[in-house]
Amino acid sequence: MRNVWIVGRRELAAYFTSPLAYVFIVIFLALAGGLTFFFGAWLERGQADLQVFFVYHPYLYLFLIPAVGMRLWAEERKTGTIEFLLTLPVTTSQIVIGKFLAAWLFAGIALTLTFPMWLTVNFLGNPDNGIIAASYIGSWLMAGGFLALSACVSALTKNQVIAFVLASALCFVFMMSGVEIIQSFFRAWTPQTFVEAVAQLSFLTNFTEIAQGVIDLRDLVFFLSVIGIALFVNVAIVEAKKGV
């Protein structure tokens, strides 16, 4: 645990010593705000809630989260620092978890910085803050799921651009697995139970459920298992590819 924290702290500091953190946060806030006001017509709706704010999060994360995750391993492999890191007395799992937590915490910081939205809606009316809190938690969990997938993909390549593109594609599949286009693809050649199982994997479905204010144990378990499994695979990939 101690080592996870040391690795994570270094990783988090690395975000803030490069312009990446600031660029990411500014773009995230601008897009999140812009989409809410202009596309969501937040003020015109005349309802004191943040529903139109959260509804765009999955789409924002689709390309912003892979941007946070792409460097986690690809950069280490490109610069060779992976050899330095993995010959320190820490286990690969500790590093994988530490890196993931740093990135997740970073995403959490960006998400927290959207608090003026919450202040505004409380100033203008009397929203259900329970739903808002649940939505924030759901949004953060979803970011964690996307991040774990992105970290996994990042470990596959030395090239950050490839990591970004592949991670975005993978996140898209996971996000959209509940919608018709992905469903019909599987329906043609797999049994019905599999198609339903795929639908259950949908980030969108699980997030929407939480965003309605009900933190169902199933949704929690879903995101945490996606994270857990992705990190497990991440360790395996790092172990398998370190010599190449």
Binding site: R2, N3, I6, V7, R10, A13, A14, T17, S18, T79, G80, T81, E83, F84, L86, T87, L88, P89, V90, T91, K242, G243
Partner: protein, 330 residues
């Protein structure tokens, strides 16, 4: 003397390529081992396995009795490692990097302070401690890499080309540091600078094509040179013909070669048969004939020649045994 590093029948294959082929050796405390071989001979791979970065295909590596595949953390704690090219986090400063390494290595506050002070002083990086590593020169980066390897006072120091990219003064300082640290540690360096082996190593291992082809102290290795015990003579050009005729007639001398000819000055080498001692014979003969010579010296042998002989043979190259030298015919 206790054995600190023990490598047994180590083999590493990448698909059809065998990078390390059945290498065995052990290193005792206090030894400074030079690992030499051509590029791609398996030096770095062996080091990567010994430090626990790569898993061996077959064979074992043990550090202080701990097996590298079963107890990797025990091994990593005891090792200070500088990977080839000294990869470091460019966005960190040397100070934050050293702090990070000390924290990961669980040094106490006092050890951390002492370790960082020692490393900073020894490697002269005090003036760049708070600059991002990516802005530093190659020499400074290399020294920061060395600093992180010694900061925890490791029992086993493994350095992959530690002086690569340093200027002659810095090289000298690093060599001094290695000699100084060698006392109760094991230091393993890989290099293709052979003078470095002569300067700091108590033992040299030559590998070629993944195979261990020699394991000796540098002096014995030098003695394998065909120039070992050869007698060099520097004399005026007008004396050269008579001298070489004289030497060629002596027993115990294999051949005579002119090595350099600058203006009126000639340098020639009398090579001994089977590397025997011929200085006394040569001197007596020259004095007897009354030949004027400016200088007589004994060659200890050239590591470079031995290196080429050993590694070219292993790589199946038609290696010229030594650099071209013309024999004196007249």
């Amino acid at each position: 003397m206790t054995t600190l590093l023990d490598i047994r029948e180590l083999t590493k294959r990448y698909g059809p390529i065998t990078a390390v082929d059945n290498i065995s050796f052990s290193v005792d405390q206090g030894e400074v081992l030079g690992f030499i071989g051509p590029n791609g001979s398996g030096k770095s791979t062996t080091m990567k396995i010994a430090t626990g970065f790569l898993a061996p295909t077959a064979g074992t590596v043990a550090v202080a009795g701990h097996d590298v595949t079963r107890e990797p953390l025990e091994i990593k704690r005891r090792i200070g490692y500088l990977p080839e090219g000294a990869p470091l986090y460019g966005d960190m400063t040397p100070m934050s990097l050293l702090n990070f390494v000390c924290d990961v290595r669980e040094l106490s506050a006092a050890d951390k302070k002492r370790g960082i002070e020692y490393a900073v002083e020894k490697l002269h990086i005090g003036n760049v401690l708070y600059q991002p590593i990516e802005t530093l020169s190659k020499g400074y980066k290399r020294r920061v890499g060395l600093a992180q390897a010694i900061v925890h006072d490791p029992e086993l120091l493994i350095l992959d080309e530690p002086t690569d990219g340093l200027d002659p003064n810095q090289k000298h300082e690093v060599r001094q540091l290695l000699t100084e640290m060698s006392g109760k540690k094991v230091v393993i360096i890989s290099t293709h600078i052979l003078e470095e082996v002569e300067a700091v190593c108590s033992r040299a291992i030559v590998i070629a094509k993944g195979k261990l082809v020699a394991d000796q102290d540098p002096l014995s290795l030098q003695a394998r040179s065909r120039l070992h015990n050869a007698v060099g003579i520097r004399l005026p050009a007008d004396q050269a013909g008579a001298c070489s005729d004289l030497l060629r007639g002596l027993s115990g001398i294999g051949s005579v070669e002119v090595t350099t000819q600058v203006g009126a000055m000639v340098e020639m080498l009398a090579l001994a048969n089977a590397g025997g001692e011929i200085l006394t014979t040569v001197r007596a003969a020259i004095d007897g004939k009354g030949i004027r010579v400016d200088e007589i010296f004994v060659e200890r042998g050239r590591l470079e020649d031995v290196f080429r002989d050993l590694t070219c043979a292993a790589e199946g190259l038609k290696g010229p045994t030594t650099t071209a030298r013309e024999s004196v015919d007249a």
